[in-house]
Structure formats: structure tokens, C-alpha cells
Symmetry: C2
Subunit: 162 residues, 2 copies
């Protein structure tokens, strides 16, 4: 997986903050995710399929998740309930959906999205098959810190060597 | 989501046990999954997209997960490591992949699969957006109990009212 493939996803996170959350997300680097993702309280994931087959994950501490969904809904939230799960599912759906269009130059048919899922707990890890590479992008914002993780395999690439 | 849409997935689990695990899985009913899925130690999930957009999950107690991957690899496993994650990812990939073909009569273009992900922990729940319906199918087998969960929305259905 080439590092430049992460850029549409990073740009989509920044656009989401700009347009939906009236805030600004700042990227703090890009790295390979080694091992399972287990540093956050809540992870929202969505599958990508078609020419690019993979997963997009947004992982949040509880406070960031409450602040982001609260800002999106224009209210203050204090507990993680179904409203928050729905909000986080919609956020990862929007990031992946917006990335589809930005990713169009790499593929000849659009990427398709699965339904989002939200995992919450005090002790869990999200693990990927060992042959898959995940890129991890930490962000800061006035709503708190969070991470974007993306993995995919390009099956049929338009004029690009994977 | 119609209950009959679950049948290709149930059949695929039974086929997998028959062909890959030299075992027999017995379905113990089908029900609506209410609320988050938090009764198992390990969950392997994969996204579905295209005309049917959703997720397929297999959830296991640790002992069942070790027994299933051990049987698949022809060895005895005692700890959950990368080999087990890879095995469980492959199992859910096979169930979803095999269901694609069986599901063909409901859709006009094949369903596409995302990459699988494996979640493990002692305290976590897997939550779906409140508008999505998940069907839950408990199974028993000589390798232990486990659950199949499936959700999807059919976007464009061939001669079928959703």
C-alpha cells in the first residue's frame, strides 16, 4: 500500500471537521500501525470493496467521541448511547464516502462501502490479517485527539504499480 | 431485511464446517439481535457492499476460536496470537465469499467483500446503527458454540420487495 493512497482519507477527515463540525483537525504524522489497535475507547469502522478492498477506522477516546457527535448534533452529550453510536457510524460513513470521490483517480470503478459498525469497550483490540498493512494517522483538534486507520489492497489499479 | 436472506450465510457456515473443519455445525434458531453484541471474546467481521450493503460477523468464545483455527491448521492451539487472528479472518472471509454465490438470486451484480477484521477483548461491544437490523444465529458444534450475525440493506433488488 502506497502512502499517497492515505491522502484522500486524510483530506476527507479535514473536510469533515471543516464542514460538519466547524472545527479544524490537524494531522500529527503518518505511520504504520503495528499490531492491534487498542489505545482508544471507541472505534467506528466501515468496509471498502471493489478495486480497493479494505477497512477505514476512526478511533476515539470517549471524550472526543462525545464532543464530536455533540458538535454535529448541536447539543452537549455526557453518555455514550445509541445516539452517539449512530453519530460515529455516520462520521466514518461520511469520511469513507467522501474519500471514494477523491480516490477516483486510482481506480476505474468506484469503491463501494459496507455498513459502519461501532466497537466500544474498556479492554479490546482491533486486529487485521498479518498480510494487510494499516496506516495510522493521529489527529488533534479542539474536540480532542483521535486516530484514522486505513488499510486496503488494490486489486486492479489504473496505471499505477501497487 | 427478510429472514430468508440469512439462509445463504447459514448454509455457508454449515458448508465450511463440513469441508474445512471436518465437523458439523448445528443452528439453534434465528433471532433479531437487540443492542450490542457483547457476549463473546472474539469477533471476526467483514463488510459487504454493492447491491447488498452490510456486515457479516462470527463471534466466538476463546476456546471455540482456538479449536476452529487449530482444526483448520491441523494442530493444537493454546494462545490467541497472529496465527489465530489470521485463521479467524480467513474463516469469516470464506463464509462471506461462499455466501456471495448463494446470494446471487437476490441481486443482479455480485456482492463485494471488504477485508476482514478481528476484534478481541474481555470487555467490548459491537454496535450497529439503530436503523440497521442484525439477525443473530447461534450455533453448536463439537468445536464449541459460536454465533453468526448478519446485517445488510438491499439497495436494488431483483424482483423482490425488501
Amino acid at each position: 500500500m502506497k502512502v499517497e493512497y492515505i491522502n484522500p482519507f486524510i483530506q476527507s477527515v479535514c473536510d469533515l471537521f471543516d464542514t460538519m463540525l466547524s472545527s479544524k483537525a490537524t494531522r500529527c504524522g503518518v505511520g504504520l500501525a503495528n499490531g492491534g489497535l487498542n489505545t482508544r475507547d471507541i472505534v467506528a469502522i466501515i468496509g471498502l470493496s471493489g478495486e480497493a478492498r479494505g477497512m477505514v477506522a476512526l478511533s476515539f477516546p470517549t471524550q472526543t467521541a462525545l464532543a464530536m457527535v455533540g458538535r454535529m448534533l448541536g447539543t452537549e452529550l455526557h453518555i455514550v448511547d445509541e445516539t452517539v453510536y449512530d453519530g460515529l457510524a455516520e462520521l466514518v460513513n461520511m469520511v469513507a464516502g467522501s474519500s471514494k470521490a477523491k480516490f477516483a483517480s486510482f481506480v476505474s470503478t468506484p469503491i463501494e462501502l459496507s455498513l459502519p459498525t461501532v466497537i466500544r469497550g474498556s479492554d479490546f483490540s482491533v486486529n487485521h490479517p498479518s498480510k494487510a498493512t494499516w496506516l495510522d494517522v493521529p489527529f488533534t483538534s479542539d474536540l480532542g485527539t483521535f486516530n484514522l486507520r486505513v488499510t486496503f489492497e488494490l486489486n486492479r489499479v489504473k496505471g499505477v504499480t501497487v
